[in-house]
Amino acid sequence: MFSSKPNNEKILKVFSGIRCLSKDQLPRYMEGRLTDIEKHLVEQHLADCDLCFGALQALEQEGNEQYQDLTGKLQRFIHDSIQPVSHVHKVAQYTKKEKTKESLLVYFWLIAFLVIGIASVYVLRGHLRNQPPPPPRTLVSAQPAAKDTATPPSGEVTNQPIVTSEQPAPAPGHQTAATPATTTPAAKPAATTANPPATAAPAPPRPTAADSIAKAKAAALKAQQKKHAADSIRKALALQKQQDSLKKEKEKGNDSDNKKPEPQPEPKQEIKEPAPQPKKEAPPAAEPINSDEYLYKAAMVYQQQGNLGEAIDRYKRIAANSSGKYAEMATYQLAICYRSKGQMGKARRLFREVIRMDGFLKNNAQQALDSM
């Protein structure tokens, strides 16, 4: 087996791949200037390769000169056409790469700046959106604070001694009994001289000074609720009546004496119920003097007390005589009065009138009308 191996291995030569003849191998083979081994390899290849054998035959026929000449030309042509192209190609590729790199960088920074800009705008807007709430809060908190600070100190600080000296005794005992005594003095200063600080707000100190805390608390709560609306109105009423009475006095010299007592008792009777606190607060409300306002407030008081007929009368007067805000408000209240009296037709008509006025109560009127 071992001895036959080289012989065996030789047979593989039949199928061993051999490269084609090179440029100078061809003429050398023709001229017989090859070594035995080389010649054998060339002949092995020639047995397989049609191209090389064809070339050999052609060369043998045509001669060597043209072959050398044309081969040299062709190789030069290949070198010329391919190498510069490849060099140019490389340069172009490099520049292209650089350009794309640059443009990508430019795009990147553009996009980055855009994103930063948009983000900052977004953040800023979010910041602004979140900021507005604080100012209203401060405003809302400031207004009540201002009110609180404005009203109580004036009453408490200035009036405490006066009130305590006069009223501690009567308040807990009999409200009704105490009222007639205090009403007349309160009404008079309000009418003659608008003097707010003296009698301003004795209500808060009174309950605190009083013995029964429960009663005081209840009274204070009710009183505070009614104060703002009713108390000041009463003084307005008083003022208005005085104005009326003055006019009447001027107009009708003798008749004024008969008529005066009539209007006066009415307010006094009505005032008597919530009396003790309101009377002392009359002066502060008297500061802004407006007949329409007084009339309106008086009517409100009547309405609150359930005296709808009287209230309707006054409201009608305001609606007929004045214009603007109070006319509208009066009409609206008139409608409410009619509604509570059960006269729905009149109420509806008046609500519609309010809507027609197109004022700040329009929405309320519309709602009331819708709910009827």
Binding site: V14, L46, A47, G54, A58, E62, Q66, Y67, K73, F77
Partner: protein
Amino acid sequence: MHQQLTNLSDKELISRARKQDREAEGVLMDRYSHLLVAITLPYLDKAPKPDPNIVLPTLLQRLSASLKTQTIYKANEWILHIQKGYFNNPDKNIPFYPSRDGRDLLHIENKVEKAGTNIIDRQDLAVRLEQALQRMTADDRDLITQFYIDNKSFADLTAAMGLTREKLRDQLKAAKGKLAKLYMNQGYV
């Protein structure tokens, strides 16, 4: 770069040329340019007498174009096919397909090349080739044995057998094809 490329095999150069490597394509063309010129010489003397300055570059262009699209097993066969196609029918571009026999030969050549220095593989291949050789006719077996194993040249054989070189070559080629066929069909026997 150019020096490195000249050392590469045809197969590698072709695959590089397909990847737009103009330099590899140039090296490949350069390698076969003298053979292309040699086989074109007889056509240049024929009737229309074409200008070699036009014909050869045109041929190169054709080769370059087909290099990118065709499957090429053997560069020499491909170049010959393109060249013959160009001169026989210049307007028609006939694609190149290797024949069945050519593929058998190629297969065995690849196997031998792959076996390389692996003794076991080489032994196995040698034994099987020997078996195939034994089944050939006596004339073919003698011819192959004398030419390949006894290293006799064309001149020796033509003198001994009284044949022309072309005829001897044809016989050798035919005998080799038969051997390849026998080897490939051994499994069926």
